[in-house]
């Protein structure tokens, strides 16, 4: 049994209801004659959508919800019977199962009127969205985001901003509503505010004991993913910040006896989130930062330049930035957050977030002497997952850390 009692944040407990409300809001949008968009989840132009009354839904989040609800198996079966290789993104296979008619959680996602892909993470962002456009006979808008090999430059931003402006025009055609730039600016301002609050929340995890662990953080990221650009998101993160700062003031950590501070890279294995609690319970090891959850808060936006700001946000995400940037970022976190070691989750079906893990591990070890471990599985598909194997690997890693 657990040595320490975990203390879940009450804001994190709220998320289940928020998730249900989010999916219902798309139904409501249609009932009110408004439109629904399905968008990729890393730096989507939600601000533009919300400012026009379009309700965005995020298939990646839906796959994650389906996984937590243990509903993916039939969805995989349908996708794979349709010809989608088991090596392809498991988020895609999960959602496509639903798109192709498999019974799915919450009655499936409310059908979209428009599809939008930011193409700023992976090739799957393009191919998956093309597949959905084909299957649903729905218009698709792709925002082409160049990879950043050195640093983000004006011509990159200009190109993406131009596409966003055109996307705005497309949305006007689809919805029959005008894109009001004042409303867009307000949405960008709110989005920036929410991101800033989220960053502040994450900053509080520098304190020892760490007030928020990975389980809560993975839940609490939901509003910034789904509702960037709304007042609700800002209010949520104000509450969360209040709760987290209270904890710090009172010296309350997510677990009682914090012994190790860890950094997480990769998408959580949503089917076995107990991997995290295992580390907390058995070793007193707490995740004090996740590159994944932090992704949604790293960009600051200037609402006076809404298109350029959104363009910048799309380009400025860890997968789209060069390795040198990533290394600088990781090194800073390790130092600022007093990190003892890093856990890198590799997902076989997610090259974009996993392909560099071995190299990052090597770099951490050789340049900075920071121990790390790579756990290979799949973020959604648990059919080949071995909990015993994953834990055994973590055990070895924790022994190494303990011996230091």
């Amino acid at each position: 049994m657990s040595r320490s009692t975990r203390r879940t944040l009450s804001c994190a407990r709220e998320v289940t209801d928020l998730v249900v409300a989010h999916y219902m809001s798309a139904l409501q949008a249609h009932n009110e004659g408004r439109h629904v968009a399905w968008s990729t989840a890393v730096a989507p132009p939600s601000e533009a959508l919300y400012s026009m009354g379009v309700q965005p839904l995020f298939p990646e989040n839906y796959a994650c919800v389906s996984t937590v609800m243990k509903a993916t198996r039939n969805m995989f079966d349908v996708s794979e019977a349709h010809g989608l290789s088991r090596d392809l993104c498991s988020y895609t296979r999960c959602v496509m199962g639903s798109v192709l008619g498999c019974e799915a959680p919450l009655g499936g996602m409310e059908k979209p009127d428009v599809l939008i892909s930011t193409k700023n993470v992976c090739i799957t962002y393009l191919k998956w969205w093309q597949l959905m456009a084909h299957a649903l006979k729905c218009p698709l808008y792709v925002i082409d985001c160049p990879r950043i090999t050195e640093e983000i430059q004006e011509f990159h931003v200009k190109y993406v901003a131009e596409q966003l402006r055109n996307f705005g025009l497309e949305l006007e055609k689809v919805t029959g509503r005008n894109l009001d730039e004042a409303k867009l600016r307000e949405a960008v301002r709110l989005s920036d505010k929410a991101a800033e609050l989220w960053r502040k929340v994450l900053e509080y995890r520098k304190f020892k004991p760490c007030p928020m662990g990975v389980t809560d953080s993975s839940a609490a990221m939901f509003p910034i993913v789904a509702s960037a650009g709304t007042t609700e998101a800002v209010e949520y993160y104000e509450r969360l910040l209040g709760e987290v700062s209270e904890r710090v003031k009172d010296g309350i950590g997510v677990i009682e006896d914090e012994k190790f501070r860890l950094l997480l890279s990769g998408i959580p294995f949503w089917h076995h989130l107990n991997l995290f609690t295992y580390l907390e319970d058995k070793y007193g090891a707490v995740f004090v930062y996740e590159l994944y959850t932090a992704t949604w808060g790293i960009a600051s936006l200037d609402y006076t330049k809404p298109y350029e700001s959104l363009a910048f946000k799309m380009l400025y995400n860890p997968v789209n930035m060069p390795q040198t940037w990533l290394e600088k970022w990781v090194t800073k976190i390790v130092k600022d957050f007093n990190v003892d070691g890093m856990v890198l989750l590799s997902s076989r079906s997610c090259k974009a977030t996993s392909i560099g893990n071995i190299a990052v591990q090597k770099f951490l070890r050789e340049k900075y002497g920071i121990p790390s471990v790579v756990i290979e599985a799949d973020h959604t598909d648990d059919r080949a997952y071995s909990d015993a194997q994953a834990k055994a690997k973590l055990d070895v890693f924790m022994e190494v850390l303990s011996a230091r």
């Binding site: 290789s85 193409k119 090739i123 191919k127 011509f155 596409q163 076989r348 071995i358």
Partner: protein
């Protein structure tokens, strides 16, 4: 005099590619640039007086590359990294990669980490086909030209580009003429041989290749032994740098008469409409290639349909490397579209080391069904 000599020459040219490039480099004193040739505007590289060559990595084992790249990245990039780490690509002065997929991006990041002094350039290849994407791509090609000028220390003039275009267009026209012959009821060359001709075009200085091609075209109709095989097939997919993949198909009594491969018709089929403004003509040509990297499914289907019709194709094989996401995705759409047209197809997924026997069994079953 045996009449098959010329076709075999292309195989030799391809198999000797490292020596050919190294020799060119030694004699010219100029630089060699490794490319993914179908998507890197080679005309620019040529205009800088460099030799662009398709990168072709190791095929069987990836022991050194495995230290950096996971098993689920594609064997094309793993094989290339392996060859670099084996120090067998020392003659490459620069690697120019298009930003096509996650394995390329992963490779790019890792290679810069391993080898900070290595010259590696990433050329943005757009993922959609709007006007602003086209304009941007023209800018990208313009930047690539500037980069090549700095790298070579030579200004690239409009005349240089026109000369490059001319020689590349000539190669494309010659390759097309060769493919034309495959429309015949009894094509004079096999799919494996055609692949070797195209692969050698990607690795050999174009002037030499053009001469050889011209000679081949003059002689080929006099060839005495035509390839055998009785089911007319088309192969569709990515880079196939290993003739053994197609050999498996033709050893199973299939006759490959056309393709939709990066190392096949996609490399040369489309010609430039006009060359009034070289940079624009070059970028438009590459921008418009029907591929999984930003074209619509409709564009790819249209291309496949035209090929099927022109070459009287009876069945399609999609040779697809394990973990090649873009093509694995597209297959689900293209295979269905072809089925609706009454053209059967099969996905031939492969990985290295190549399990030839099991691949052959699968192809045989498919061909059996087509008879």
């Amino acid at each position: 005099m045996p009449k098959d000599v010329e076709v075999k020459n292309f195989r030799e040219l391809f198999e000797m590619r490292d020596a050919v490039a190294a020799k060119w480099k030694k004699e010219s004193g100029k630089k060699v640039v490794g490319c993914i040739s179908t998507y890197i505007p080679e005309e620019i590289v040529y205009a800088a007086e460099f030799l662009p060559v398709e990168i072709i990595g190791k095929l069987e084992t990836f022991a050194k590359a495995d230290v950096y790249l996971p098993s689920f990245s594609c064997s094309f990039m793993r094989g290339f990294l392996e060859k670099l780490l084996e120090a067998e690509y020392e003659y490459l002065d620069l690697v120019a990669l298009p930003s096509l997929c996650d394995s390329i991006w992963g490779f790019f990041s890792i290679w810069r980490e391993i080898s900070p002094k290595a010259h590696v350039y990433l050329l943005h290849y757009p993922s959609q086909r709007s006007r602003e994407a086209e304009t941007y791509f023209t800018e990208v090609v313009e930047r690539f030209k500037t980069f090549m000028e700095e790298f070579s220390g030579k200004d690239i003039s409009e005349t240089d580009m026109r000369t490059a275009i001319e020689i590349y267009e000539q190669n494309r026209r010659l390759l097309k003429s060769l493919y034309e012959l495959r429309k015949k009821e009894s094509p004079p060359i096999s799919g494996v041989e055609a692949l070797e001709v195209v692969l050698s075009s990607m690795t050999t200085p174009k002037r030499i290749h053009n001469q050889r091609l011209q000679k081949l075209l003059n002689e080929i109709e006099r060839r005495q032994e035509y390839p055998e095989g009785n089911v007319r097939l088309l192969v569709s997919g990515h880079v196939v740098e290993d003739p053994n993949v197609l050999r498996v198909i033709e050893d199973s009594e299939g006759l490959i008469v056309s393709d939709d491969l990066d190392t096949g018709s996609r490399y040369f089929w489309s010609l430039m409409d006009n060359v009034a403004k070289p940079i624009e003509s070059i970028s438009r040509r590459y921008f418009e290639l029907p591929s999984p990297y930003g074209s619509s499914f409709e564009d790819r289907i249209k291309y496949l349909r035209a090929m099927v019709k022109e070459f009287q194709v009876e069945g399609i094989v999609f040779p697809t490397r394990k973990f090649c996401d873009p093509y694995l995705f597209d297959y689900t759409i293209l295979g269905r579209a072809m089925k609706e047209d009454g053209v059967p197809s099969m996905l031939l997924e492969y990985e290295y080391p190549l399990a030839k026997a099991s691949l052959k069994t699968r192809v045989e079953a498919f061909i059996e069904m087509l008879r």
